[in-house]
Symmetry: C2
Subunit: 187 residues, 2 copies
């Protein structure tokens, strides 16, 4: 049944994403992915044609789900509140569910085009969520930014590295408020 297959695939992708985050692309071997799932390597090749395929799909799946959750947040209210909610949610997911995601999206430079493009598309969609809010705030004057691009880049950088130092709820709040300063009106 297709349902069962789908779940199998999802389990594989989730495990691969975990390991990938922990060790980076070159550090992951399919033997270990298989072992964590209590199957053998050959079995993975029944679902995926190659390591690259599996890895790309894993990154894609995690990234898509992540962005889905951000897009599901309420899209009304003042930009400051919406940005705060986005930052908090993103950092929460990173810290609590995917503490190793940092390395995950750091794609090797020498990857084949198609794979890189898929990851790029992912990043683009993720970026758009934050960009919309920042641009709206800048337009209405509620935000004061030096420029939109570097602001977004620092937001992403700060969020993605959060699990390296942040643990507690209080630290999540502090990081969120710190990042909000990037768009705050200055004295």
């Amino acid at each position: 049944m297709a349902r069962k297959r789908g779940e199998r695939v999802r389990a594989i992708l989730a495990t691969a994403a975990d390991l990938l985050g922990e060790r980076g692309y070159a550090g992951v071997n399919l033997e270990d992915v298989a072992e964590r799932l209590d199957v053998t390597k050959g079995s993975l090749y029944y679902y995926f044609a190659s390591k690259d395929e599996l890895v790309t799909a894993a990154i894609e799946a995690l990234g898509a789900e992540w962005t889905d959750r951000l897009e599901a947040l309420p899209a009304h209210g003042p930009p400051t509140e919406r940005l705060r909610a986005l930052l908090r949610e993103h950092i929460r997911i990173a810290v609590r569910e995917h503490p190793a995601a940092l390395r995950l999206f750091l794609v090797p430079d020498e990857w084949p085009e198609p794979q890189r493009d898929r990851i790029k598309a992912l990043r683009h969609r993720h970026d758009a969520v934050f960009r919309a809010v920042v641009e709206e705030g800048a337009r209405t004057g509620e935000f004061a930014v030096v420029a939109v691009d570097p602001t977004l880049q620092v937001l992403h950088a700060g969020m993605s590295q959060a699990p390296l130092w942040v643990r507690t709820d209080r630290e999540i709040e502090q990081l969120t408020e710190t990042l909000l300063k990037l768009v705050a009106a200055t004295a």
Copy 2:
């Protein structure tokens, strides 16, 4: 002569650091490091006992030189100016000289203690340079920060990821000013 040996070692470390940044720890092989230096792998083992030794030394050397240059900046004047100079210099070095340094300091989780400690010490020294300025500014009231730790963390994150998006001088300036907002007094 000890002088020649020192230069040889430095050349090896620099090459290793480059490759390491491009591909990450697991992606680097000594064969390629050797080839770039026009020697054979065996020769590297005359200077370093193992891959880990070589890699750790390479990270250490690059990191130490980097921090040296930041520490050499003038230590007087108002905190805002000093922080601006630090950010600009750090970003310049990253973008122009070590665009691939991002992966370099992302040490594998399963490394032996001694190696990890050496890298940790490096980061600590680097952090201290920025911390001193931020704390001074916060003390005198020239800076307004949510908390010192998250502020420093976001500064580091933003700087280290700079080469991913920043190229031109103008972009370097914009990123610098954006990061300065993290410590700016709010309206």
